[in-house]
Symmetry: C2
Subunit: 152 residues, 2 copies
Amino acid sequence: MFSIGQMSRQSGVKVPTIRYYEQIGLLPAPDRSAGNQRRYDQAALQQLRFIRHARQLGFHLDAIAGLIELQSLPDPSCHDARRIARAQLSEVRGRIARLQALETELDRIAEGCHGDCGPGDCVVLASVADHASCVTAHDAPPDLGDSPRGAP
Amino acid sequence: MFSIGQMSRQSGVKVPTIRYYEQIGLLPAPDRSAGNQRRYDQAALQQLRFIRHARQLGFHLDAIAGLIELQSLPDPSCHDARRIARAQLSEVRGRIARLQALETELDRIAEGCHGDCGPGDCVVLASVADHASCVTAHDAPPDLGDSPRGAP
DNA sequence: CCTTGAAGCTATAGCCACTAGAGATCCTAT
DNA sequence: ATAGGATCTCTAGTGGCTATAGCTTCAAGG
């Protein structure tokens, strides 16, 4: 049996995050010690590792819940699992494409100025102000900011 | 003078988002009509368009606030603007690299199964469970999920 | 002038996937 | 027995919005 701290060390998932997963029903509530502390078995560790890796692969928690449900079926349908994985793949590809459009624009913007702009006509600021100067259709990337959502 | 709805149509930023930007101080509070409705001038529209495009380029709101402050300086330093743009560029590049690692793994996982797995040994599920089978170091992308954050 | 309906107002709560903190309790090693 | 690390619950905060409720204001038509 593992304590929550051991689970955390063995899986790489932080302790509060494990409790959060339990709270939202992604991890089953484990047994408790006499003093009300969580005690996990090997299967729970497996599942937590599954979740962790799926998160690293960019799956949303609800997609992960779907995968877990598939696992628990008597005859786990590869078909469904593959469909979920492919949906994830195409989402990732879409994000890459949008980010590459951003990269093009940002490169153009950042390199357009060589530090010699006079006051009031900085090329960087002008470029950010004006979408018309963009060379790609980098419109509406649904995942614009985003970075440190799950990041420490 | 523009109403908030006109501002929204002219900029592509939704009405509640405009109010939100005002609330957090990214847009200055405009004048009000006799009946307490917001009335914007051309400069405010310019600024909102600037914010909107910067968001499309992936800048965080605090970076945008920095850019706006630069604009308002008597002698806008291109140097600083360029530094901010370059930081954004390298962040975008990092995200692309991490997403490409994910793409590699997801492709491998999704294509590893041809729909013929027997019960209990679906390759997709096994691959998600086991990071050791991954061919890239796709660890800890800080921006894993993310998609529909600002998206409608 | 009066009505109607769209557009505006404020305030609050919710989204995701966590993270941080307070204050209390438990477990283990000495 | 005690020290101190680990754990417990609960609440609130993050970013960048979005949604709802219940009200008021504005502009056009009759």
